[in-house]
Amino acid sequence: MKRLLALSLWLWMAVVIWAAFHWAPLAAGFKGESSRILFFHVPVAWVSFVAFMTAGVESVLYLAGRRDPRHDRSAAAAVELGQVFAVLATVTGAIWARIMWGSYWNWDPRQSAIVVTMLYYAAYLALRQAIADGPSRARLSAAYAVLGLVVSPFLYFVLPRLGFSLHPEPVINAAGKLEVESRMLAVLTASSLGFTVLFYWLHALRRRLGAVAARRDEGVE
């Protein structure tokens, strides 16, 4: 990534961090200052979804096109990063749960759903480990990642809404009205944007590293 882009990203998130603690108001119904964690928890959860969707799209491109290994490497990189962000989402969520309701874990539908998601993509990585042949590995894990395009939206958006949830109402409720005060929304959006750019930067690095490794393997053979 160009020096300028990196600097811009740094500056952007620096402002977001400042705004999260000094400019945005506190959310109603949250204990003390704990609503500030939202500005990191929500974007990070969102980015994990973006990552898994990216993996699905790259897998479609792999299967539907010329079976270009670059798409396969891109998908695998996206899944790895998706898991990292999912873990961050789980951890920040658990910290916040501790503050709000006294315990780190409640098996609340949203907490359960993110765990199932992580299991799904852990299975993806396990599948890749189990297949030695490159093209087969790419083809079969791509199929699983494409299935993920169906399963993930259910896990992120449908399952959490079933039954009682300790989680507060989603930012945009069924009527489409914005429940969140505009300053909060601004910081939330800005933070999400920053984390998304961060994801794509890390994704590009992981892809490129995979390409170098692949070239090295070819050279050895």
């Binding site: 620096a14 603690f21 200052e33 500030r36 690095l205 590293l209 390409a211 170098v212 070239r215």
Partner: protein, 36 residues
Amino acid sequence: MGGPEWVTAVNLIIWTGLVLWISRLDRKIRDLERER
């Protein structure tokens, strides 16, 4: 626990460190790409 200034400072330090570290990774990968 310190006030908002303290938390902000800690976050900024972590963030800065992260960006510097990723930039270094970027440079290393670029070197690896160039040598091939």
